[in-house]
């Protein structure tokens, strides 16, 4: 592999998010903003239950019985400077992070293109896999 390609690889982080719960919603945003702050190019691909997080307004809840404590978690996070989900996603976009909705599962989950936050692109698996192939790190969050 050419050194130029290696260099390109080192600076890219890809993530796949397949769940729409509070924890799975924050993970890619916290990792992603950190990576972007470190100078990496970041791509996050949302599929299945994850697609709901890309709606204009999304209020993810903790999984199972823990959902009752979502408010407490949210308050604690606000206290340490981590904003609400939609606000953090907006900040992430301002940092240049790319967000994608999986074309097929969006349909399956009843999420329309017009429901998506501005800036979110609809993407197929092949296009995402091409990006992931060029990235040194790809994380699966689900």
């Amino acid at each position: 592999m050419k050194s130029k390609e290696l260099c390109k690889m080192a600076d890219k982080l890809c993530m796949v998010v397949s769940e729409g719960t509070f924890d799975k919603a924050y993970m890619p945003l916290m990792m992603g903003t950190t990576a972007a702050a470190m100078g990496s190019e970041v791509h996050v691909f949302y599929t299945f239950f994850g697609t709901a997080l890309l709606k204009k307004v999304s209020k993810p809840k903790l999984p199972g019985m823990f959902r009752l404590f979502t408010g407490v978690f949210q308050k604690r996070m606000t206290k340490v400077g981590i904003p609400g989900h939609d606000e953090l996603m907006k900040q992430a976009m301002d940092m240049g992070i790319n967000f994608y909705a999986c074309a097929t599962t969006m349909d399956l989950m009843g999420v329309k293109e017009s429901d998506l936050k501005p800036g979110v692109k609809v993407l197929g698996a092949a296009a995402f896999l091409k990006m992931a192939g060029e990235a040194k790190t790809t994380l699966f969050i689900g």
Partner: protein, 75 residues
């Protein structure tokens, strides 16, 4: 230590000190020294990692109890 600006990230937890740090350095000129104040335990390892990745130079660290002071020379 000599400094040109201070970023107070006390009370913020990972990843926010790094996120704010990345924004702040954009406002500074090459060669200037930024003082970062943080009390997130993660910052102890995160700030040096961020510096080595971004090429900004960590010229000093001080600890006063839980408070960490980082001095970063802008690339």
């Amino acid at each position: 230590m000599q400094k040109d600006a201070t970023l107070d990230a006390r009370g913020l937890m990972c990843p926010m000190p790094i996120v704010h740090l990345a924004k702040k350095v954009k406002e500074l000129k090459s060669g200037q020294v930024l003082e970062l104040l943080a009390d997130d335990v993660g910052a102890k390892e995160d700030v040096p990692a961020w510096c080595s990745r971004t090429g900004h130079q960590l010229v000093g660290t001080e600890a006063e109890g839980k408070l960490l002071k980082f001095y970063i020379k802008i690339r």
